[in-house]
Symmetry: C2
Subunit: 214 residues, 2 copies
């Protein structure tokens, strides 16, 4: 829908990149960028580092909604309030654009509106994949899927840096840290990956991992 073929202008792909402010706010590891329930006055883009967005149930159970890497957008809301909390997973810089400015831009330029649609629809696709993961996949398939996803999104080949703790992985995958840890160990025992350090993974048999992802 709204395929790029139909863009009215000649410019290749109007990102929203140009419209983001020049200043790049910095956040240290685990610093909150915005909180659930706060006014959603800005939309964000990760410049460097990584961000997690999550929600917490009354009793403390946490579900990470999404990880955001360099270039990814987050914080775009339908209502005027953030539905999730956003935190830096490492030292991170972001760019921001006022929601109102984005809205005005979309009203003026069809290609901007299309770019916003694209952003939202990409988020929806990712969320749908997440649903499939959580609803119908085993712990092992989930972990393998996450590693491949991180590799792809951070443009890593065989070696990748995992920018999150085991707890973050668990809360994204709907598992516990113990299960994540055991699963990684067993993937290593089977020779599919290597774990030189806790946050560094080598994909030794990518096709086997991809096969698990079904």
């Amino acid at each position: 829908m709204l395929s790029p073929i139909r863009t009215a202008t000649a410019q290749p792909a109007f990102g929203l990149d140009a419209v983001f402010g020049g200043a790049c706010p910095r956040f240290v590891r685990d610093e909150e960028i915005f909180g659930e329930g706060e006014a959603a006055d800005y939309v964000y883009q990760v410049v460097s580092g990584a961000v997690r967005t999550y929600r917490i149930l009354r009793d403390g159970r946490r579900q990470i909604d999404e990880f955001h890497f360099a270039g990814d957008h987050f914080g775009l809301e339908l209502s005027d309030v953030h539905r999730v909390t956003a935190e830096a997973m490492a030292d991170t810089t972001v760019r921001m654009i006022r929601r109102g400015a984005l809205s005005d831009l979309a009203a003026q330029r069809g290609d901007a509106a299309r770019a916003i649609f694209r952003l939202t629809a990409e988020g929806l696709q990712r969320s749908q994949d997440h649903v499939l993961m959580l609803g119908r996949r085993s712990a092992c398939e989930r972990v393998a899927g996450l590693l491949l996803d991180i590799a792809e999104r951070t443009h890593a080949k065989a070696e990748l840096d995992v920018p999150m703790s085991r707890q973050d992985m668990a809360d994204y995958l709907g598992l516990t840290i113990e299960t994540v840890s055991r699963t990684l160990t067993s993937l290593q025992d089977e020779g599919l990956i290597a774990l030189p350090t806790v946050r560094h993974v080598v994909l030794q048999d990518r096709s086997a991992l991809e096969r698990m992802t079904a």
Copy 2:
């Protein structure tokens, strides 16, 4: 984001309703509306009945992505191919609009582009809620949440018709039919609901159900 306050025109809320074709294709129960991988030439709106969209893994595991009731839109894709299969859950009528027509409209009218954004963002919100459900809720919480969701979306008060089979519920909730059935029975035993017939539920203690939903 893109809040209704900023609409340029005076008209209250430009739905996409006006732009959908007049003909209402009909589908009988379990009939496919479109299949995963098929060209996404149209966007759909449920007129009457209900629709499920789902994906299937190689080994047959099915995950229902979303249920769509009267008024709901479905089939809007970022790419030109459907990522899910859509089937009528009961005898159903839908309205359709050519994707290209919608795209043209969005390019001309800011309010149309905004309506499309709204549609997509609502789908994203629902998907995020689904993720939270699947990642961090017990079987009992999931079933209670689904009942409340159906009640709300079909505008039912205390009594509601469940338009789907136990298998559909299970495949939406990431459970098995046996667990869904047992959970419903235990909710009934606890006096939270009554089940006069298989597809008819009475919410006897809505606040208790809502409390489970956390």
